[in-house]
Amino acid sequence: MLDLKQDYFALFGLPVSFAIDVARLEQAYLDIQAKVHPDRFAHLPDADKRLSMQWATHANEAFRTLKTPLARGQYLLEMQGVDPAFETNTAMSPEFLMEQMEWREALGEAREAADEDTLEELSQRLRASSRDLVARLASALDERKDLALAADTVRRLKFLEKLQHEINDALTALES
């Protein structure tokens, strides 16, 4: 029976795994939205409209979660009873923390100097780093079933995501 509590993978008819067939995910999402979107129910009674909004909201949240690697990894951990956010005080490896500090310093300096090129370059390096971490997350979840390593990787990715936001904000600020 379908209900709003089933897991996101089941909703889209996908196997539970980190590796995901993005084309199939997108198609399943569009197929579901085609049925539940509020635009299909605008001429119908309120009860139908309410249901439609709940379902379309749910489908959007499910799609967003499965589409982005970080959110998907975190969701898979939560499905297995691990909340990565609860363990933020676990010691991160010293070299990762060092790297973090270097990045922050570089970002601070580039922002100060209004140096767009350096910001762009930082952004590139960050993306490359994220890609490596996503590969590690895939292996931790799908192959090694190492939840501790996966949680650690999710936390690192969160750091990088935050940094990426700050770089984007700095770039935006330079333009205005």
Binding site: M1, L2, D3, F12, G13, L14, P15, V16, R24, A28, L30, D31, I32, Q33, A34, K35, V36, H37, P38, D39, R40, A42, H43, L44, P45, D46, A47, D48, L51, S52, M53, W55, A56, T57, N60, E61, F63, R64, N168, L171, T172, E175, S176
Partner: protein, 622 residues
């Protein structure tokens, strides 16, 4: 030219079931109404054969209200009572309105939205907009020969919650049933995409009279997906007029013109701007009431010079939207130009340079939004078979958040989230024994509350006294398909709950709308009670018809007892709908909705299962 659709026998809606639905482009400068007739979208004309209705309202001392061209004639004669560009004031406080000093109105800075003092009393921008909408409603009902079932009203994609709510309130005041608020660039994309069978990533650059929007969309067969949107809710063609107006004042050595002279000069500036699209230079000769003479020639180069940075200003949101979409300008397949202001040659040129391609200007930039809105209204009214419908996935333009300690914003729903959407966040108490918490809801991208727009404040009371940090208060934001927010807060351990529709700060309170409706009807323009009865009867009819159709196709989802219960509810509603008691119909409608909830829910499940049935089971390796 859209083709007439011929569908399988039995698939199309019966002719007598065709519901009258229109799309309305409520513009800063002009407004339009369009509909789909026999499968062909078209703008509706007024008695004089004109499609554009100038968005101008003139309040006369004798209680009459003139709208459109008649009001336009009064602009320079009675500036204080002739309201133009009211869209710039929707959902805005006095301090948020740009160039307020050149607007010749008697402003009243009321709590929330600014008001205008006219010869007919103090008017809110919502009431002024409602006059424009009412005029278009009457035009549509005359032209189509019946009452409208529903309308789609377009809003700038970059409109925030307060501006959207104000627009919806105006529609309600004008007696319109809003099927959906639709973003203007998205409406244009529908009209453009369906006409040209386009696929790929498109940018819609929409420079209207008072607002600028940029939307990046992914178009594929039957799907319009907005990837990112950005803009400037107070930048448009009016600003180009204003630059020219200032240039004329300076070069004719005029300081401090009277309200009437200002109006005349502004009207002249707009005329010059429009003529410069084709002409290289335009002479300006006029004698002002003050006796000052204006004798100037405006060359296009000068105009380009003094307005170039306005065009540059539009490119900043364009860059932001592309960054949010993760795209480079070269990846955009086509740039659709919308809004009268995109006729200016230097706008087209600069946008073309930015994207490295000539923008698409083959659709009339004045009517394309109304046409798209009409097409969407036709779908939403249920006039098309489900198989031929397209899917529209739109986003919210600005992040929504809540104030936390130190005047900082915690973002709860980020911008460019696909709507409808809901997100929850847990908060906790700050002091020992704290029993109430204020939720301050804001919209915007900045980290400081003071730099964002305040949408609402509400209080959650009755939190059981606990030590600081022990309570778990879950705040849930829900944004509906119109882009409108509602917020609820709930203490998790006790279930104490508070819920608000986000309205108070910048919208109108419900009782204000009720008062306006009443005063409007006192002018004998309509009979409120008769209208309200008719509305409830139509609603009941709609519900009954939809339920009967659902029972015909999915009746097997109910067992005999459930079916009997629903039949009883149908009979009760039908009986009430035949009577004259508005309240009785309302009560029956509510209880009917409760009775049919389970049936609706089962049909939804069946429909979703059907959606996934197309996927091969053997693909599902788990």
């Amino acid at each position: 030219m859209a083709l007439l659709q011929i569908s399988e026998p039995g698939m199309s809606t019966e002719p007598h079931q065709h519901r009258l639905a229109v799309g309305i482009d409520l513009g800063t400068t002009n407004s339009l109404v369009a509909t789909v007739r026999n499968g062909v979208p078209q703008c509706l004309q007024d008695d004089e054969g004109k499609t554009l209705l100038p968005s101008i309202v003139h309040y006369l001392p004798d209680g009459h209200i003139a709208v459109g061209r008649k009001a336009q004639a009064a602009l320079a004669i009675d500036p204080r009572n002739t309201i133009a560009s009211v869209k710039r004031l929707m959902g805005r406080g006095l301090k948020d309105v740009s160039h307020v000093e050149t607007m010749p109105y008697d402003f009243v800075d009321a709590e929330g939205m600014v008001r205008l003092r006219t010869v007919q009393g103090v008017k809110s921008p919502v009431e002024v907009s409602a006059e424009i909408l009412r005029d278009l409603r009457i035009r549509a009902e005359r032209s189509l020969g019946g009452e409208l079932t529903g309308v789609v009203i377009t809003v700038p994609a970059y409109f925030d919650d307060a501006q959207r709510q104000a627009t919806k309130d105006a529609a309600r005041l004008a007696g319109l049933n809003v099927l959906r608020l639709l973003n203007e660039p998205t409406a244009a994309a529908i009209a453009y995409g369906l006409e040209n069978a386009s696929e790929g990533v498109y940018a819609v650059y929409d420079l209207g009279g008072g607002t600028f929007d940029i939307s990046i969309l992914r178009l594929s067969r039957g799907v319009f997906e907005v990837v990112a949107t950005n803009g400037d809710a107070s930048l448009g063609g009016d600003d180009f007029d204003h630059r020219l107006f200032c240039w004329m004042l300076e070069n004719a050595s005029i300081s401090l013109p009277s309200d009437r002279d200002s109006r005349r000069l502004l009207i002249k500036a707009r005329e010059v701007k429009e003529r410069l699209t084709l002409d290289e230079s335009v002479p300006v000769r006029m004698t002002l009431e003050s006796g000052d003479e204006v004798d100037l020639v405006v060359h296009r180069d000068v105009f380009v010079d003094i307005t170039r940075n306005l065009v540059s200003k539009t490119l900043k949101p364009v860059r932001k939207a592309l960054r949010d979409a993760g795209l480079e300008p070269e990846e955009v397949k086509g740039v659709v130009m919308v809004g009268g202001a995109t006729r200016m040659p230097h706008v087209q040129q600069m946008v073309g340079e930015f994207f490295g391609q000539a923008p698409l200007t083959n659709l009339d930039p004045d009517t394309v939004v109304a046409i798209g809105a009409a097409m969407q209204a036709n779908v939403l009214a249920g006039n098309r078979a489900a198989e031929e419908e397209w899917l529209l996935l739109d986003v919210i333009p600005l992040s929504l958040g809540i104030e936390t300690m130190g005047g900082l914003v915690e973002k709860i729903i980020p911008r460019n989230s696909t709507i409808p959407t809901a997100r929850a966040q847990d908060f906790t108490t700050f002091k020992d024994g704290q029993t109430a918490m204020v939720c301050h809801v804001v919209q915007g991208e900045r980290e400081l509350v003071s730099a964002c727009r305040s949408l609402a404040r509400f209080e959650l009371r009755g939190i059981p006294p606990m030590v600081a940090g022990a309570a778990r208060i879950r705040v849930t934001f829900q944004v509906d398909a119109d882009g409108l927010l509602s917020v609820s807060a709930r203490e998790q351990t006790t279930g104490v709950e508070a819920r608000v529709e986000v309205k108070p700060s910048y919208g109108l309170a419900d009782h204000e709308i009720a008062d306006m409706l009443k005063s409007g009807f006192e002018h004998a323009r309509d009979d409120m009670e008769a209208r309200s009865l008719k509305e409830q009867q139509v609603e009941a009819e709609r519900v009954l018809e939809a339920t009967e159709r659902a029972l015909a196709s999915d009746g097997s989802l109910l067992d005999a007892a459930e079916r009997a219960a629903l039949d009883t509810a149908i009979a009760a509603l039908r009986e009430a709908a035949q009577g004259q008691d508005v309240r009785a119909i309302k009560i029956q409608l509510e209880s009917f909705n409760r009775a049919s909830n389970e049936f609706a829910s089962r049909r939804m499940d069946k429909s979703i299962r059907g959606a996934l049935a197309g996927h091969k089971i053997e693909d599902l390796r788990i």
